[in-house]
Symmetry: C2
Subunit: 143 residues, 2 copies
DNA sequence: ATCTTTGCAAAGAATTTGCATAGCT
DNA sequence: AGCTATGCAAATTCTTTGCAAAGAT
C-alpha cells in the first residue's frame, strides 16, 4: 500500500494506470523510457491504458517530482525515476543505451561558472553522446 | 563573394534564401535562433522565404557544419553559427537569454569519464538552466 | 539546358486537449 | 454521490516531404 499512499500524498488518486506506470519504472531494467515505450510495454502486458493517459500520468509524475524528464537529442522525451541524487548521462547514439555518472568536480565547476555569470541555477543537465563499448566493435550497422 | 563560395564548396548553390539565412546568423545579435524565429525575422524583413525552406536550409547548414543544432528543454530546435570552438550554455528559463561558456576543467573530466565508461564520445552538451541576472530582480513574471 | 532549389500544401511525429464514461473514496 | 481520471478522437505544435514552378551555373 506504500505506493498508493505515496500517490495520495501528492493529491493523485491511486488508480490502476498510475500504479502500473509507477511500478513499471520501479521494476523495468531499462531506467530510461519514452512515453511510447511505456505505452508499448503496457500493451504487451495486456494492460490496456491509452497513450493519452500515459502522457498525462508521466507529466503528473514529473510535476510531483516522482520522475525526471530528459530531452536527449532524439526529439522524444525520456523519463526516469527520481531517486534523489542528481546525475548526468552517457548516451549511445547507436544502440540507445544510457549510462549514468556523477562527478563532484564538474558540479563544483558548474557552480563556479553560474556564479561568475550571475546565473541562479535551477537545473542542469549534461549529455555525452557517442558509442558505447559494445557498439564500438561492430562498426557497421548492428542494431 | 566569400559567402557564396563557402556554400559552393559544400555542394550548395549560392541561392538567395541560403545567403540570407547565413547572413542572418552572422549579423543577428541573437546567436541562438529557432526555425520559427528565423522565418519570422525574414518575413518582417519583407524577404519572403517559405518556412519549409528555412527548415531545409537549416538542416543543410547543420550537415555542412556551418550551424550547430541544440535541443534546449523547450522542445524546439535552436541553431547557432558554428565558429569552431566547442562551448556550453547557460539558459535563462524566464527570458530565454542564452550565455555561453567553456571550461577546460570540465572538458577534461568529461574525457576521463568517457574513458572510464569505455564510451567513444562523438559529441557532448551541457546546459545550465536558471535565472539570469536581470530576471532575478523582478521575481514576479516579467515577460 | 540541366540539375538544384523553392513554395505551398499535405503528411508526419510527438504531445495535448475536449468530452462523455468509468473509477476512486 | 461527488469529484477525479481515463479513453478515444480530434486538435496542436514542430518538422518533413511531394511536386510543379522558378533559379543557378
Amino acid at each position: 500500500m506504500s505506493k498508493a499512499s505515496d500517490l495520495k500524498e501528492m493529491g493523485l488518486k491511486a488508480t490502476g494506470p498510475r500504479l502500473k506506470i509507477l511500478n513499471l519504472f520501479e521494476t523495468s531494467e531499462q531506467r530510461h523510457l519514452t512515453a511510447e515505450e511505456v505505452y508499448r510495454i503496457l500493451v504487451e502486458e495486456h494492460t490496456d491504458i491509452g497513450l493519452a493517459t500515459v502522457y498525462r500520468v508521466l507529466t503528473q509524475f514529473e510535476q510531483a517530482g516522482l520522475l525526471v524528464r530528459h530531452h536527449f537529442e532524439s526529439g522524444k522525451a525520456v523519463f526516469e525515476l527520481n531517486q534523489g541524487g542528481h546525475h548526468d548521462h552517457l548516451v549511445c547514439v547507436k544502440c540507445g543505451k544510457v549510462e549514468e555518472f556523477f562527478d563532484p568536480e564538474i558540479e563544483l565547476r558548474q557552480d563556479a561558472i553560474a556564479k561568475k555569470h550571475q546565473f541562479q541555477i535551477q537545473d542542469h543537465a549534461m549529455y555525452l553522446y557517442g558509442l558505447c563499448h559494445d557498439c564500438q566493435q561492430s562498426r557497421i550497422g548492428s542494431r
